[in-house]
């Protein structure tokens, strides 16, 4: 007889994981690795460290699964863990984020292998540029920006993930953008970032 086993829902997988089934949680990891890795990469600016941080995030999530509120979106909960962990890592680096003269290490964003090399190089350059600007910001300013642009979260969702008030999120987003705009204006030259064509134009 043919097996008609239905794939388990996220809730069922989480219930199994809570009962101590790491393989069920592995399926959850598979589904959410991309957004978690992206957040870690955008926060830390280093692919290898982002990998470590992603692993640590999922291990923490699995260990503290008992604290997860099923009424909340699982991704939001994991992103909360990830952002806190990344901020901790950044603080440990003991870098003075206030200084605009800092030149943190920027790694190229890993791209799908199927992409054309020319396209890949172009995307890498743009990604490098964005990551470069992002690396200049203090950790607390990066998180709302990443959550807004890469995840399309609302003020309320960002506030929930970061345990902040909505006005605080608004203020950080504005300050982050303003700081980036100031940096871009200062470094504007024919060969600089501003020479890239607008993606939406």
């Amino acid at each position: 007889m043919e097996s008609t086993a239905q794939p388990l829902s996220e809730r069922e997988l989480l219930q199994r994981a809570q009962k101590g089934d790491p393989r069920a949680f592995g399926i959850i990891v598979q589904s959410y690795q991309r957004p978690v890795y992206n957040l870690c990469y955008r926060m830390l600016g280093d692919a290898e460290e982002a990998e470590d941080a992603t692993q640590e995030t999922f291990i923490r999530a699995y260990t503290h699964l008992g604290r997860y509120d099923p009424d909340r979106k699982f991704l939001n909960w994991v992103l909360t863990i990830a952002s806190r962990h990344c901020i901790d890592r950044l603080r440990k680096r003991r870098v003075s984020w206030a200084s605009l003269e800092d030149e943190p290490y920027v790694e190229r964003v890993p791209m799908p292998e199927s992409m054309d090399p020319h396209q890949m190089a172009e995307r890498n350059e743009r990604a490098d540029e964005i990551q470069h600007w992002l690396n200049q910001l203090p950790p607390d300013y990066r998180t709302p920006l990443v959550l807004l642009y890469w995840y399309g979260y609302s003020y309320e969702e960002i506030a929930q993930i970061m345990h902040l008030s909505v006005p605080a999120v608004k203020s950080r987003l504005h300050r982050a953008r303003k700081r980036l705009a100031e940096m871009m204006s200062q470094s504007a030259s024919p060969s600089s970032a501003l020479s890239y064509p607008h993606p939406h134009s």
């Binding site: 692993q55 890993p110 743009r126 990604a127 964005i130 980036l180 993606p199």
Partner: protein, 186 residues
């Protein structure tokens, strides 16, 4: 009056797509009048760049690697829990035998009050050891709380034993001796 920072703040709200945001062309005109058009355009540029940025792709072996680590950690944890349970049961084996033996002795000679208290003390110890072992294995209660509670109970029994021992102290019961008072066998 045109305050540059308030214009940029309004632009930020507009870019976030929040409700009640001002019109972009109106904001641009205000920025031009406030002489902060350069920063205004740079902010728009930042927004466009970030909005177009793709998600970073994780390495292919990331999820399987995390799952392997989780499985390994789970097995290690299970092994540790079993080891604790085994050690707990092993350490309770001797008091268990003693409790049974002392219980039989007490049943045969109910006058042994001191021994009875000692037996209770041993029962408490046994219960503690078993609870610690089982709860550690099942992650039910913190071993610290259980041991602290039962240590207190054991201390109460110990104090009771001391009080009783003090009450009975001084009653010298002459032991039977086959020797007579002159040191010869009677």
């Amino acid at each position: 009056m045109y305050d540059c920072d308030s214009i940029l703040q309004a632009l930020s709200v507009h870019l976030d797509g929040a409700e009640g945001a001002s019109d972009l062309s109106e904001l641009r005109a205000r920025a031009a009048r406030a002489h902060c058009l350069e920063l205004f355009e740079a902010m728009l540029e930042v927004h466009q760049r970030f909005a177009a940025a793709a998600m970073a792709e994780p390495p292919r072996d990331l999820a399987p690697g995390i799952t392997r680590t989780l499985v390994w950690q789970h097995r290690r944890h299970q092994g540790l829990a079993l080891a604790v349970l085994f050690l707990g049961l092993a350490t309770t084996l001797i008091p268990t035998v003693w409790v049974i033996w002392a219980g039989i002795a007490l049943y045969l000679d109910p006058g042994l009050v001191g021994q009875g208290l000692e037996l209770l003390l041993q029962v408490v110890n046994l219960g503690t050891a078993l609870l610690v072992a089982l709860s550690t294995a099942a992650h039910l209660l913190s071993p610290i709380w259980i041991t602290s509670f039962f240590t207190l109970v054991a201390l109460v029994f110990l104090l009771m034993s001391l009080v009783l021992a003090n009450q009975h102290h001084g009653r010298i019961v002459p032991a039977y001796s086959p020797l007579s008072s002159n040191g010869r066998f009677s």
